[in-house]
């Protein structure tokens, strides 16, 4: 009962904040709405017993990525309000594709498996259990991921250098 209430409340918060991200007229409002979305999705992770992932979600997304966005917005001094001067045909096409893609994917997803019954076993998404998998069968992707992050850092530093 409590789980139902919490799920619907935070699902509503997520959708409302996501709509605020895509329709807000100021970049700062959009970034702060993204922050709210991240926190709501972290609570949804907690509801699925993915505790480690919820904390990592907050630390990585809300603590690093959103802060990075805010830094760049303030660095570039984007105070301008976005003028909404789209042709209505373009808006209609975007709306159509944004509605039809989830329907297509949903048809494919829900025809493959049956999700009506609750999860067969209670999984514990603790750091210990996830860590056992990451450093066990997923060790190679983990190491490649650290290489990817290194490449991204080198790329970002190189792209952001001052021409002197």
């Amino acid at each position: 009962m409590l789980e139902t209430l919490l799920f619907y409340f935070f699902a509503l918060v997520t959708v409302a904040a996501a709509i605020a991200v895509v329709s807000s007229r100021s970049p700062i409002y959009s970034t702060l709405s993204l922050l709210v979305t991240m926190f709501a999705v972290a609570v949804l992770f907690l509801l699925m017993q993915a505790t480690f992932l919820a904390v990592i979600h907050i630390v990585v997304y809300a603590g690093a990525i959103v802060v990075l966005f805010l830094f760049v917005i303030m660095l570039l001094g984007l105070k301008e309000r976005e003028q909404v001067n789209l042709k209505p045909l373009y808006l209609l096409t975007a709306l159509l594709s944004a509605v039809s893609l989830p329907i297509i994917f949903g048809k494919a997803i829900f025809s493959a498996l049956s999700y009506a019954s609750p999860a067969p076993s209670a999984i514990e998404g603790s750091a210990k259990a996830v860590g056992r998998l990451v450093f066990g069968s997923y060790l190679l992707p983990f190491e490649l991921l650290s290489l990817l992050i290194l490449v991204a850092v080198i790329g970002a530093v190189y792209l952001g250098r001052r021409e002197s």
Binding site: L44, F45, L68, A98, L148
Partner: protein, 100 residues
């Protein structure tokens, strides 16, 4: 009773909102923000599927998706800063007319 199907429907709704944002927005940073919503919907779907199958593989993949998204945002924002330095504008609908 909240089944994984509820989470998957929510993930699909978020995916639609993110797609709409990427298509409609004219500011490079706001396009990247809508991309983050798409990443979030994918992570929700991964964790929901890990609950369906009863193992933690989906959560491990969601962890990797987070790391890839973080590095992608880093490089994309560096490119955006570079764009702004060259063009003095990061809008995708107006051609950058600086020198005339």
């Amino acid at each position: 009773m909240i089944t994984p199907a509820h989470y998957l429907v929510l993930s699909l709704i978020l995916f639609g909102i993110g797609t709409f944002g990427v298509l409609v927005r004219r500011n490079v940073i706001l396009i990247l923000l809508s991309l983050e919503i798409l990443f979030n919907s994918a992570n929700l779907a991964f964790v929901a599927f890990s609950k369906v199958h009863g193992n933690l593989d989906g959560q491990v993949v969601a962890l990797f998706v987070m790391a890839v998204a973080a590095s992608e945002v880093t490089v994309a924002l560096a490119i955006t800063v570079l764009l702004f330095r060259t063009w003095k504008s990061i809008r995708t609908d107006q051609p950058p007319m600086l020198k005339g």
